[in-house]
Symmetry: C2
Amino acid sequence: MDRIEVIKFGGSSLASVEHMRRASRIVLERRRSCGRVVVVVSAMGSRTNELLDLAYAAAAHPDERELDVIASSGEVVSAALFATLLRHQGQPARSVTAHRSGIATSAEHGNARIEDIDCGHLNSLLDDGVVPVVAGFQGLGPDGEVTTIGRGGSDTTAAALGHALRAAECLIYTDVPGIFTTDPRICPQARVLARVHYEEILELAALGARVIHPRAVEFAGKNRLLLRVLSTAEPERPGTVITFAKEDSMDQPAVTGIAYNVEEAKITLREVPDKPGIAASLFAGVAAKGIDVDMIVQNTAADKQADISFTVHRSQLRKALAAAEEIGAELKAKAVEATEGIAKISLVGAGMRGHAGIASRMFQTLAEAKVNILMISTSEIKVSVIIDLDKAELAVRKLHKAFGLDAEAEDGVIAPARAKA
Amino acid sequence: MDRIEVIKFGGSSLASVEHMRRASRIVLERRRSCGRVVVVVSAMGSRTNELLDLAYAAAAHPDERELDVIASSGEVVSAALFATLLRHQGQPARSVTAHRSGIATSAEHGNARIEDIDCGHLNSLLDDGVVPVVAGFQGLGPDGEVTTIGRGGSDTTAAALGHALRAAECLIYTDVPGIFTTDPRICPQARVLARVHYEEILELAALGARVIHPRAVEFAGKNRLLLRVLSTAEPERPGTVITFAKEDSMDQPAVTGIAYNVEEAKITLREVPDKPGIAASLFAGVAAKGIDVDMIVQNTAADKQADISFTVHRSQLRKALAAAEEIGAELKAKAVEATEGIAKISLVGAGMRGHAGIASRMFQTLAEAKVNILMISTSEIKVSVIIDLDKAELAVRKLHKAFGLDAEAEDGVIAPARAKA
């Protein structure tokens, strides 16, 4: 049986018909070197946001079902245009929307889960030598109505189709040449990783989420599907393979990349009388207001007083602070403080598991650069610190060098230092 | 059983969310005064053209099937936004696209015929007190793929649904207050007709086609469905009823309205040796090049030489002239001439059948106004003349007055003299 590839293009690779034409040439090329290809497309450029703007102009709280009808139309147009471009170049192709793709989802409009994929229609197109161009981000709910599977959902569509079709690889074409060791805008020495473990990508979220959606990565990792992130503008570059293979991690350096997030703010409850359940009360209360918490750190002082800090997205700071003050009063916290102007820097590496001393080397490097650490949190494959925003870029560059991530001459994949559009 | 109304809004009534909100208030009002309403919507403003522009940027000859996927998406978004607006105002509503509307069409993508309508889903929504908002212009072909039913197709969707649902009336909301006796931009005395026979509207094509698609009128006439043209901006005005009832025509004036078309050009073959089949050769040759011919006039001179003139749309003049020259040479025509800068003026009236002398009164009126007539053509309910373009507006005003069409004080529905946006 022929090798199957699923090839996904994001909105920035499809911003105009001209962009789409370039993307379609990649598909023709892949089709020549690989027997069967299935294309998955996002909506053109910012079309999804334009459509959502229309919906929210119609009603502050649009019906989720109608919202899905509106939002999914962007991918429908993309798919039909893309199929038109392929046909125009002599390649039989056909757009496949939610009603024919066989993607069955749960009923939760706006955030549906893919529950089953019937590949019958897609396989019959492939058997006929036709390239199916699947409208991403959408499926059919149990009642036969169109659903969408959440933002960034075309990546998930691609991964789910890759699994269902037993694809050899799922190629995610984006506007970057792969996954970088850190943000090349702030660290000119950043380079493209040839391979990255899917768990690392999940931890590198802030870095990776702009490139590929964590949900797709998680799905691919669990289902042992190879993903590859490539550049639509420079398709000749090898990109980054996102692998699920544990054995690979033995050879790789302890630190794979450095994530960088300046979108967070910190809230601290000082001197909370320490008794069982205080963290539970606090975060249950915060979650009840619909606030997502990222890092949580709790220290217990000698006199049975705990300091609890947590970070939230900046846009939720005001709401989070109100919740924290309310609960802080109940818990008899001495003070509740909010801090903006912070950055989260994370070292990520699956190889970190076997290496002691990564954290201490990180703290040492930051100390030498006179960077003060406000919060620390560690997981199996990540060490994160919160520092002042104005030291963030310096810290990334120092750490990038200290952990041997800087691009070397023989590497051949020096990252461009230019800022992304 | 409750009265059912089908209410259709065109693109100019849906140009923005704000336009849609006004339109949705009309639906709420109709719903209060009429038990059951089904809404049919076009795409927003010029969205269909924008979508087609994208398709033609992708390929000079896009695949018809993909073109239908692209073009139909405009109505899908409209329907979901409209349903959102109704729901936001407390009216249960649901968008219904090709996959659920029950509209089965022929397989001819881009110009499919509606072959059958299964009203099951629509009736179950109506039974539940829900207003179905049907995406116009689309259906499902025999292979389960989306088709479109040609430009202006939402009118046809509305008429076909009106018939299938046994609606009492089909309301077509537009950006004009009804069907005028003639173009109010060139004849300030033009007024809105309270009633017009469907055959008249078909003959008034140039006037009526901007308001309602002839295909929908023909369908409604044949199926004895009442249509009413109304203004979205001034819904309190009574509009124009398009009736199928023959008996009405007895009482009405001989001339109902004056159509006016400046989009045509004329080609004349001079002194063609007259023998059987010359017209057949000529127009078969012209049709083979995909050129639509409107008026055809042939005169035979005493010496067995015929002059044949015909009109085509201006945009097709060059192609038509090339065809006429080629065939003219074969037929040994003495000369082939093209004339631009012409206008077609038509008197239309179902009552014309019983009245002699309409044509001669028309020619007399034009002679008094010193308007030279280049071509004449008559049908059962129409007399058309081709005249010089620069006399066209004068001719319309003189004829409008001569045939008693000018608005009178007691009429109460004086047309606004302002130009349409």
